[in-house]
Amino acid sequence: MKKEKLPKSRFRGSLLSRYLIIIVIALLFIPVVFPASLVGYQFVQSIIVGNISPEPEAKNDPYTTMRLEDMWHREAKRLKGNTPEQIDARIGELHAAYSKVDMFWVDAKSRVRQPGTSKLKLPQTWEAADAVAYMKRYREATQQFSVIAFIGDDQKLKQGFMVMQVSRSELRTGGYEMSARTTMIFFGIILLMFLLFIAVSWMFFVNMRRRLLRLQSAMTVQDGSNLPDPILIKKTDEIGQLEHAFNGMVVRLGSSQRREREEEELRKRLIANLSHDLRTPLTVIRSHVYSLQKEQLSDKGRQLLKLTETKLGDLSGLIDNLLSYNLLTSGKYTLEPERCDVLRIVRESAAAWYPLWEKEGFEADIDLPEEPLFWIIDPQWFRRILDNLFQNAVRHARSGQYIGLHARALPGGQTAILVSDKGQGMEASSGDKGAGIGLAIVGFLAREMGLVMDVGSSSQGTDILIYQAAGSEPGLKLTNKV
């Protein structure tokens, strides 16, 4: 398939650009979202949550890792140069102040000393191996928070070191650690941002969809004949351009429909006028022939007049058929099919033709079943077919003096209508070719109604079978019987 070149459209104000803006904003937002969430958190915390339910004494709580560590190192520094007894006393005081914290210290001789209130079970001496074991046990264990400080800030362990440890459950997260509520608010804000992005995208597509649906409903015209109304264009984006193109199409369609109607009108009028102009002189000629017939004439003269009259009739029929064929094939007749009893139509048509057959000395052999036969046909068109067939029989099968109307059961279980005459057949059609256009009309009408006209002709006569084309090709079928 060849790729169609799409029309160029302005980028600004297009759907594409608007969607790109949404995407770019979303991408730019990701690095902004987290700090913004923090700011948002602070805001929420201080303004809303802080006022309603303040976090329990976060500022003054000594049980925060930062403060404890700070305090321990400060104390260790201050104990520089103190005697072991003084150190014992100070740690005892501290333990009294921080009751939840276990404390002990190891002097320069690696002896473990702890205040009497301590519940810790510790070895008497504290060698390097013990320190490692302690590290393993407590430092790596997350449940315990411990701090080791060298007394007097002396790395060479002249005075030993002091250790404190506390269960983490006793501690409050503060400073760089956040409480569960803070996390919730933080992620809540991020979630909100993403929801906002989804909502904006959603709105974008919902809006687009609504406009497309509007266009679709505008294109679907309920009543067959009318054109869709033009759409009011609100935006200049791709859909706006589509609407614009649609409006243009509606206008063009309207003008072409109008032109077609005018053409149809013109054609109909032309043909009506033509018919009138041809028939008026014919009528005049006929009137003269009629007047002549009343004069005193020789047998030869009367015979000639009779012939003239017959030919006048043929000519009139020919004009009729020619003009009808023109109108029919240009689709200027509307087919209005309905379910009707064809046998009834055949009978009524035969009733109208019967006097003429009688006058021409035809034997009318009509035997149609009583039960109705329903076909989906346009009764006007079907009458027209019958009229043409009967007319042909009168004109071209005069020698047979016979017209037959019967119902025939077909092998497929269908019922066909058989119109037969005993003329010389189509080939020898009494010298005039008038049958041609008449049959063309009949064939056209039959095809349009989905009927088959099976015409079998021989020198003994013509049989025309009319039946519904169930599966087979509708229209006229000509076969020459031997």
Partner: protein, 224 residues
């Protein structure tokens, strides 16, 4: 004094000929060459013969105006326009549609049918073989013995319907629907039964009917 007809035809030759022919058949004809004064001229007429292609007002417009002014006045369209559309348009208000070229006998026959249908019967009885039919008085007399024939309501309606379409063949559906006013149901024998009784009263020999003729495979006809 013949029956008064209004004839509107613009073609001088055709108009003169029809005028003369109808005059010869005992009708009194007013011939107009356009439809301008048709409505006023139609007063006192029993039937209008109307051409379609007229200068000025066209035949369809004239016909509609006439029908509006005189709803019961029968109108026969006589036109050189033969398309189905024209016929259908014409028959929306007209009672009959005859196309040119036509035979004067056919025109006369159709005029007669229309007059009969519209109830413009003459005082002279209609003679059908041995029957004298006084249509005005709804009386049928057997001319053989001078006795009046009495028909039942339905028999009379059927006979009148056939008489109104004198010379025309009517299918059983047409008669049934014309008389009963209901759609014909398949296999309904009511009409056949009525016609049998009707023949027993009217015909000299009901086995070989002469008045109500059976057209085999088509329907029934009463010929003048």
């Amino acid at each position: 004094m013949g029956i008064h007809l209004l004839y509107i035809e613009d073609d001088a030759e055709i108009g003169a000929w029809v005028n003369e022919d109808l005059g010869g058949r005992g009708y009194e004809v007013t011939w107009l060459q356009n439809g301008e004064r048709a409505v006023e001229q139609a007063a006192g007429c029993r039937l209008v013969i109307l051409d379609v292609m007229l200068p000025g007002l066209d035949g369809f417009t004239v016909g509609q105006r006439l029908k509006k002014a005189y709803p019961d006045l029968p109108i026969l369209m006589l036109s050189a326009r033969t398309s189905i559309d024209d016929k259908l348009e014409g028959l929306q208000f007209a009672d009959d549609y005859l196309t040119k070229p036509f035979h004067p006998d056919e025109l006369a026959a159709r005029i007669e049918v229309l007059l009969r249908r519209s109830g413009s019967y003459s005082t002279e009885p209609l003679v059908l073989k041995h029957l004298l039919v006084y249509e005005r008085e709804n009386r049928i007399v057997n001319n053989d013995n001078g006795e009046e024939i009495l028909l039942t309501g339905k028999q009379f309606q059927i006979f009148t319907y056939l008489l109104r379409h004198l010379g025309q063949i009517l299918t059983k559906e047409q008669i049934y629907e014309g008389v009963w006013g209901d759609p014909y149901l398949d296999g309904d024998k009511t009409l056949m039964v009525h016609i049998r009784y009707l023949r027993e009263k009217l015909e000299r020999d009901p086995a070989n009917p002469e008045i109500i003729e059976t057209v085999r495979g088509v329907g029934y006809r009463v010929k003048a």
